[in-house]
Amino acid sequence: MTGKARRTDGKRNSYSMEKKIRTPLEGDVIRLLGAGEKVLLSGYIYTARDAAHKRFAETIKAGGQLPLELKGQVIYYCGPSPAPPGRVIGSCGPTTSSRMDAYAPKLISLGLKGMIGKGRRSPAVRDAMKQHEAVYFGATGGAGALISRSVVSAEVIAYEDLGPEAVVRLEVRDMPLFVINDIYGNDLYETGVERYRSGPLY
């Protein structure tokens, strides 16, 4: 464990290596991911934000079936802008993840392996990631036009009535992400900030 944790401390100095990974995420890939690493993600991912998560929770509570098989999958917290004519999708950067914190631990316990968003996660989500070996990736907030170039196809698979909050299956190719929380408990928001902080804590 220590050996693996060593390379996951967010203190790497260059991006000579961008790791290419694919969904569905398997344990052996996840175990090699470390906070601070840049990855290029390919395969299918699913958008879901506030309203869709609320419906997931209601469905699970009622014993119903979710519109996607969670095992090994990755959810992207994103509400894209409308697709202009001739394009697959509009601008599609991440939204703030903390609003989904109330729902994430349950989804992780059901097999969800990755989440993409921006901003810090709650202790409960971080614990669930450690316990069930899931990771949290950061996509660059406000880089929605660039991210749209990684999207090969987009298909609404559930909750179309929610408009920009519908669940969309995206096929992505080399989507640029940073690992924020790895399965060893490292958090880029803590290690990165502590490393470059030279002033007092407020």
Partner: protein, 285 residues
């Protein structure tokens, strides 16, 4: 002296079309000075992760321009500032309705996301109206329009606080730094920080919003405030938050302060945060 001949007519059709064009343009094309500030930040940033993020922001601005697509999917609430010359006569309809119609058209035609909803039911209004309109009467016969589509992520980390006068400069500084720390990665750093001091409760908030609209790199004409801006910028960049909060030495692109006198008993202070996607456009009719 009060002859109608001194009034200048501006038709609402002209205003509608100006608002439509400004919001589409603002959402797609990052202003040159913001692009330059981010380019400069790539050089200043010490963290490799931070540098990489900043480069992504430049590539994103290029992609948006080339593909005629919004810089960010959060195309914001349509904040509109109007400086109405006192010798202007608006014809053809209501001024506020003209602004709303321009917003409606821009968000539809420009494929911009509609991000306006009922506060409790969260039902979307469907056309990104109502816009937020701030109008001021000024001398002259022109109408100046400034649009500032403002995303939710950064706006969520603003606050007005009525300080005790004894807290003074240090109290203001501590408040600003507290807000920057509280936001951390969420308002999409590198941020622009607007600080409004004085006036009263609502004036301080308006001043903080006007402060984020001051061009990056421009210092307050008052030497003391200019020094305070630089001091705050230095301290914010020493928090270590960095681009996207991944750690780094560029947390803010700039800090602007606007200050006016206030009541003997008060020290109103407001902090408004702007994300790196600082979208702003203006036009004079």
């Amino acid at each position: 002296m009060r002859g109608e001949e001194t009034m200048r007519d501006i038709h609402t059709d002209e205003i509608i079309s100006a608002i439509e064009n400004l919001f589409i343009d603002a959402n797609i094309n990052l202003p040159e000075n913001v692009y330059k500030a981010i380019s400069d930040a790539v050089e200043k940033e010490r963290s490799p992760v931070g540098k990489e993020v900043l480069k992504e922001l430049l590539r994103n601005a290029d992609a948006a321009r080339q593909e005629h697509m919004p810089i960010c999917q959060d195309t914001g609430v349509a904040v509109t500032f109007l400086e109405v010359g006192q010798d202007v006569h608006i014809v053809g309809g209501g001024l506020a309705e003209a602004v709303s119609e321009g917003v409606r058209r821009a968000y539809k035609k420009g494929y911009l996301r509609k991000s306006c909803c009922h506060p409790f039911s969260r039902k979307n209004t469907g056309d990104n109206t109502p816009p937020v309109i701030h109008a001021k009467i000024v001398p002259g016969d022109k109408l100046k329009i400034t649009v500032l589509p403002k995303g939710g992520g950064s706006e969520n980390y603003g606050e007005v606080r009525m300080l005790v006068p004894a807290q003074g400069r240090d109290g203001v500084k501590t408040f600003v730094l507290e807000m920057v720390k509280k936001g951390g990665p969420n308002p999409c750093p590198p941020i622009i920080v607007g600080v409004g001091i004085g006036g009263n409760f609502e004036t301080s908030a308006m001043l903080s919003k006007e402060a984020i609209m001051v061009p990056i790199g421009e210092r307050n004409a008052d030497e003391e405030l200019a020094a305070m801006e630089m001091e705050l910028l230095g301290e914010i960049n020493r928090t270590g938050i960095g681009p996207q909060g991944y750690g780094g030495t560029v947390t803010a692109l700039d800090v602007h302060i606007r200050m006016v006198p206030c009541h003997l008993a008060s020290l109103p202070v407001a902090v408004n945060i702007q994300c790196h996607a600082h979208r702003i456009r203006e036009m004079v009719l």
